[in-house]
Amino acid sequence: MSRLSKKSPSLCTDLPLDNADICKKLDLLRQLLRSCFGPTGRLKQVHNNIGGHVVTTSTSSVLLPAISSSQPFINLIKTSILNHVSRFSDCGLFAAILCLSLIEQAKQSGLRGNVAIRVNKHLLGLCTSYLLGEDCGCKVKLDFCSSQSLITLARSVISSKPACVLTEPETLHISRLAVQAFLLTVPCSSPGIVSLGKIVTVSVEGHGVLNSAVFPGVLLDMPDVFTVDQLENLPSDALRMVLFSASLAGDLSELGDGIIEVHPGVDTDSQILDQLLELGKQVVKDEVKLCVCQKVIHPVLQQYLRGHGIIVVERLGITLMEPLTQLTGAQPVATLHTTIPAKAYGRVRDLRIRTFGFKTMLHLHPPGECVICTMILCHRNETMLNELKGVCQKTEHVLRLTLREPSALLGGGCTETHLAAYLRHKSMNEIQETVSVLGCSQTECLLGVEGFCRSLEAVAAALEHDGGSSLMDLTHAHHWSHPADVLTEHMEDSLGSCGCGLVESSPNQKWTYLNSKYPQFSPAPLSEDASVQPHVLDSFTAKLNALQVAVETANLALDVRYLIQDVN
């Protein structure tokens, strides 16, 4: 029963960013997300109040939907970040931490909202044009001739999710698999518009991670093992197969809404079954060796087909239909009364049975070059497996993004510190022009720049969780972390190399602690040394968008003057 109820008036808050309660909540969110950031980030357990599944994670895409708040501010930021993550799969925590730091810094600086927004927008423009420019000091071109840089990129994504609980060799193995699977989905010889293939992921619980593997083609679940002996008799070249998208269970779905009256003595079921067997006869006559149906196949028909040496797979599900049509070249058949045209049949090169743990699967080899591959992911328990599955999908997405823009950014916080140093230098040099464009005073502008740069540095510093301190060198402006418990006379001895691994420490280098004053300088470009490869790389496209999303979200939040909460 529908019931009309009275709408109660909304709850209003004037100037919400000056409200202590809201500020506290934002700060709490910032600390929560900050503690998850990076390879050494702390894990969070999410469980609901009715005793559901416990999820252990540190990824923003799992964590943020779990945070529910009545505070619209939190929801605003949450949806922005989640939308970014759903488009780019990476840099969600980066965007969230940057956004929250920007809001906090703008409040601390005491700037008028509009001025802070204008300065932020201006600086964002500087950042994007620098990152997109040719002479960007924190960007590396990806080399598709070797898989090394792709593996580094994949490894950075995978290792930044500690909830997968992978050892170093396991991380490397999964990174390699991810790159291998990605490369299998890129067609080799296709002129014109390239359409990428698909990775089908199959997860196997209770098996070691190192058993994970990638196969070209599709692996289908085989609940019964009767077919194993049939396989041995098959010739191993170009087997004909048929793919049905309609149900073969003997139901007629497209009859309409009318009423059917059946007179006694009429056996419609057997009439329909006869028709199905007619279809079966044609399939047998056309020498089909594999029959796959999206829905259910009538047991009698199954028996008939098996009796003629055909391997039957039913209940395939809609998700595997498209990969299978691409793999075999078959056209799904949904007409039961007309003869199946020859071109609707597909081809498979070879059929194999593969077992993983408790799973027995039928491996369909593609007849020629094919962009469909299957990734078997194994892990010890379900929670870790789920996280690993999510991470592999993200990695695939990040790798795909490199096709559009073949570059990557230095990871390990080096991009952030480098950008901050660049912005300080650039805006100092152009302070007069900036002030006249933005229409604010020089002090206001400098305050805004300082807040923005500090927010960037705060993101780099967020990578450190063990009480160590974050530093920046004064030549290349890369990020270094100094462990808390190591005390040495010379700083360079304990530092090793910078966050991304491109710069080694040397005695004549100078460092400064992050968030401390230092004389502004122009960060020097790195020497073109091919022998040194960065150890950590971030996705260029994802990070660029994350930067824009973070600044735009912060600007929106700073622009809010009034809050109206509908309490109905």
Binding site: T79, E254, E261
Partner: protein, 687 residues
């Protein structure tokens, strides 16, 4: 009836479910609760609304964050949206909001200014009424006397405005503005000349500044201009293409969340917001033929109400029934007929099928075998736009597909926008639309809330442009009628509806614009004051005529005062500057000075450029082009309509003297709910 008896009745009544909400002591038998509306209450209520709206008004204003009842967080600077989100209870406040919504749904603009002006006028009237309550002694209390004075004043202002305002604007404001004619707008586009296109863009820019904030107004106004340039019908009426975009905006835009707004763009052709149901074509950009189907391709064997009898070889024939030996033959028949349809389509060369409904698996399978692609469940709006742009008519009977049902497309391919894959089609140029280049708008935002906000702003911008080009007289009368109707239906008790004199067609041409930032208000203020002094010499209703002009003139100043609210100094400076400009030239309306004035206003009056205010210079260079600075522009006709709407709203709310709380079955259901409603309204008036 004694009090005890009364209480008893109430209790009985409430136990039966009647009038449970009435506070016992106040109840007069069988009378709904009564609330007297005093002028103070009215002023307080409207001022409360004003204080909310002010937060997002003017160049220093910001956004209002609100949650929908679904919990979704939304941002807005649109006055109409903010006021709706408040979910007000007080009947008077709701009536005001209703008026605002009616106005903004017509013009798409001015809802914040509406509240500001209304509050300002009410305060002025309140002050005057308190100072000199009506001399007549027939009134029982001081408050009734005040209310009656206020009512008289409001009526007089409305009458005055309906009669004189258009002339005053024509004399005092128009000479300082410039006229955007649609012909110019379209003509200049061809030559890509700067001036008029710039004006439209500036008009849009100041609109978007008030709706989305400063940071994005440049970008969005450029995008809107571009869109309008593409959708320009050559031989048609000027506003037709605006109306076309307004009507089809839903089909013409695609919201994409997760990207910054700067990724918004125009794309060629139309985006159909569905994905291919069959494997999509792998072809390169090449011409394809498409047909639109509104129904099912596979014939339904049985429609509702039909009966199929399956017998044993005997032929049964009944009304509305089909008959044969085996059920299998029926489904075989439907499949064969489907094959015939596809054969026909193939002979016509069709390779894309757009369908309004979901087709059967057999259709998809046959389409895949015939190398056609199918797009299912396309919305009606999109199909009608597609039909309009492609020139092909949708197929209603799939047995009768003729060449006129087949549209030729330049391409048809998948397009990935955000999370969704859509179908992207482009059309061949046809003769009727030589100048039209069909294009769709991709609106990017951080979240769904933002894309919604941008889409609303777009829609309202188109409405604003439409009302800018509409002839003024016509819209004013329609607007007034609408407002009056709305107040009649929403207020619980309206004494009478003021007689609206038939509006005369005024001499104002459509399309006039004036620099933004309080210029209109300053100029009209001056014109009203001058009119007041001239009235006092000649008119017979000396004092009140003067008073009305003055009152309106002073009330108008609230707008520039709030625009410069962050520094009162700037307001005084601006006012002084306008004074000198108007006084320095003894013939302010002469055309000789027109350009000079305009350039001066353009240079200095716009408050967005604070830095420019300090270093403004009075350029005496007459040859300076109109509106060369980046100041924004405002539409004179929108302002005029706004003013009339405010005055009509004012007079109608002052005619209310009592609120009767009646209770329908809805409220009697729950005693508690109704009780809180009474308390709620009480609190609000006492605030």
């Amino acid at each position: 009836m004694g009090i005890t008896a009364l209480q008893q009745t109430t209790e009985e009544a409430s136990s039966l479910g009647y009038g449970g909400s009435v506070p016992v002591g106040l109840m007069v038998a069988e009378m709904p609760p009564v609330e007297c509306l005093h002028l103070d209450h009215v002023v307080q209520t409207v001022c409360a609304l004003e204080s909310v709206v002010l937060r997002s008004f003017g160049p220093e204003g910001g956004q209002v964050l609100f949650t929908r009842d679904t919990g979704q967080a939304m941002l807005s600077r649109s006055g109409a949206r903010i006021l709706t989100a408040l979910r007000l209870e007080h009947p008077l406040a709701r009536m005001v909001v209703e008026c605002v919504l009616k106005h903004s749904s017509v013009t798409g603009d001015g809802s914040k200014t509406f509240i500001l002006l209304l509050a300002s006028l009410l305060r002025m009237i309140h002050k005057m009424a308190c100072k000199e309550p009506n001399v007549s002694h027939t009134y029982t209390s001081r408050q009734t006397a005040e209310a009656s004075t206020a009512r008289h004043l409001a009526d007089k202002i409305l009458a005055f405005a309906l009669e004189e305002l258009d002339n005053l604007i024509a004399m005092g404001v128009i000479p300082y503005g410039c006229c955007l004619s649609w012909e110019d707008f379209t003509a200049k586009k061809h030559l890509s000349g700067p001036s008029n296109n710039d004006c439209v863009q500036k008009l849009l820019k100041s609109f978007f500044h008030s709706r989305l904030g400063r940071s994005h107004c440049d970008f969005i106004s450029k995008l809107t201009c571009e869109l309008l340039t593409h959708w320009k019908f050559k031989r048609d009426q000027p506003s037709l293409s605006l109306e076309f975009v307004n009507d089809n905006l839903d089909a013409l835009h695609t919201p994409v969340s997760g990207f910054p707004i700067s990724c918004s763009r125009l794309i060629e052709g139309q985006v159909i917001h569905r994905d291919f149901a069959t494997p999509c074509p792998q072809t390169e950009q090449k011409a394809v033929k498409a047909a639109v189907f509104s129904g099912y391709l596979q014939p339904k064997l049985l429609n509702a109400g039909q009966v199929l009898q399956l017998g044993c070889g005997e032929q049964w024939m009944e009304e509305n029934s089909k008959n044969n030996r085996s059920i299998v033959q029926f489904s075989a028949w439907t499949e064969r007929s489907l094959e015939c349809v596809f054969a026909n389509l193939q002979s016509l060369g069709v390779s894309v099928i757009l369908s309004a409904v979901k087709q059967s698996a057999a259709v998809l399978s046959l389409a895949a075998q015939a190398e056609m692609c199918v797009v299912e469940c396309v919305s009606e709006d999109e199909l009608s736009l597609f039909a309009q742009l492609s020139g092909a008519t949708p197929v209603s009977d799939c047995w009768m597909v003729e060449p006129e049902h087949v549209a030729t497309l330049t391409f048809c391919r998948p397009i990935l926008l955000g999370a969704h894959r859509y179908v992207h089609v482009a059309f061949n140029d046809s003769e009727e639309r030589v100048t039209v280049k069909p294009c769709s708008l991709v609106i990017c935002g951080l979240g769904e809330g933002q894309t919604d906000q941008y889409t609303c702003a777009f829609r309202d911008a188109i409405r604003m442009l439409l009302s800018t080009w509409e002839p003024m007289g016509m819209t004013a009368t329609t607007a007034s009628k609408r407002t009056l109707q709305s107040t009649k239906s929403t207020s619980s008790h309206v004494d009478q509806i003021p007689n609206v004199p038939p509006f005369q067609q005024c001499g104002l041409q459509p399309g006039y614009v004036i620099p933004a930032g309080g210029t209109f208000e300053f100029l009209l203020h001056h014109a009203l004051l001058q009119n007041g002094t001239s009235c006092s010499a000649s008119d017979d209703i000396v004092t009140s005529g003067l008073a009305v002009s003055q009152l309106l003139a002073n009330a108008l100043l609230i707008v520039p005062r709030q625009i410069y609210s962050h520094s009162p100094r700037h307001f005084l400076q601006a006012q002084a500057r306008f004074q000198t400009i108007i006084q320095n030239h003894s013939h302010p309306f002469s055309l000789v000075y027109k350009q000079e004035h305009s350039s001066i206003f353009g240079e200095s009056a716009f408050p967005l450029e604070e830095d420019k205010l300090t270093k403004h210079r009075f350029e005496a260079d007459v040859s300076a082009k109109l509106f060369m600075s980046d100041s924004g522009l405002e539409s004179v006709s929108c302002k005029y309509q706004l003013l009339l709407a405010v005055l009509q709203c004012l007079s109608s709310i002052l005619h209310v003297d009592t609120v009767l709380h009646t209770h329908t079955a809805l409220h009697t259901q729950s005693r508690r709910l109704a009780n809180t409603s009474w308390e709620g309204t009480d609190d609000e008036t006492e605030d």
